[in-house]
Amino acid sequence: MKIESAALEQSAAWKQSTAWKQWLDQDLDGELEAAEASQLAKILEVDPEARAERRGLVALHQAMDEDRIAVRPGFSDQVMEALPQTWWERESSAGLPRWALPMAMMLVTALGAALTLGSAAEVGRFAGLGTTILDFMQATFLAGSGMLFATWRGFGFGLETLIAESGLNLLALAGAVLSLNVLFVSMLRRRRPAAQAAETTGSEDS
């Protein structure tokens, strides 16, 4: 009796706030904290108005459940059949990561060069092979640096001539450099993950 009157008092105090109906709502959604849910259960036991309100909400939930449709049979099979083949599937079916092919090509080239040039080495077979690979890499490096140097030198010379001709050329060049930077930054921005992009734009993935 004492417990019931305490619950009634609690119920009266609780209903003075506007949140009590929200508790009922959240309880039916399974979103009420455990402590609040047990408090609510006690109040429902003694308060007919709260019970009536809850019945109305339950009826609403049931009515909305009746408005559901069944998924047509074979739906998931249709989805699976319609899936495209993606790059990660191609990769995993080949059993090789994406960088494997270029790496293999480099190794084959290096090995081929070593075998071709290494046959002429005077030292022991394996030492000759190693020396030849080093020589080959050194030669490649030197050739590459030379070409790069020549290219940049030529480029620098061209620019110098262009800028010296008029101030307008200098302005145009500055504009071109600025545009390239803007383009670069916008390309970096576009590489956001799809989830983030889909959550911030209305058209992505839709």
């Binding site: 929200q22 709502d25 959604d29 979103e31 009826a59 009515a63 998924v71 998931s76 990660w88």
Partner: protein, 190 residues
Amino acid sequence: MQPPDEDLVASILKGKRLLFEELVGRYQGRLVNYLYRMLRNEEDAHDLAQEVFVKIYGALDRFDPKYRFSTWLFRVAQNAAIDKIRKRRLKLVSLHRPDTGDGDSGEWELEGQELTPYQEARNVERGTAIKQAIDGLPWEYQELISLRHYGELSYDEIAKMKEMPLGTVKNKLFRGRQMLKERLGDYLTD
């Protein structure tokens, strides 16, 4: 215990394509019903749900595990549904035929729209009343009720998806349901 969605996604990306069927199984009912509420047409809801799953699969490598799979899926679905509704509106044409001068003007003849027994059974008074009541709600309430009730998203997922404070989601859901209760009144006392 079922593996979380995000773990399934990671396995799929390692080449286990068939695991995607598990994800489809988890979400198909919720997604189809959510889209049905948005599009009001069973056929369209199924077709669009299929499109959404296919689109999601193609973009799985860009899925950021920081986000929940469910909120991503429903956001993509929502955008797809909105696009579909927009296109539908553009396709709306007048039913009046142009007068060709042969006295045969009037309305285009439409194919008979007979309901199947299943549709007839569904088309009960209460179901119609619920549809009308939900359709009559302001858009923001409709949307949240659909996400919660038909998409079965938690309050937290809805808050993240709609970028709303949790308290706002709770309030709007509550107010939307109160409006529905008032509008449906008699139908709920059966």
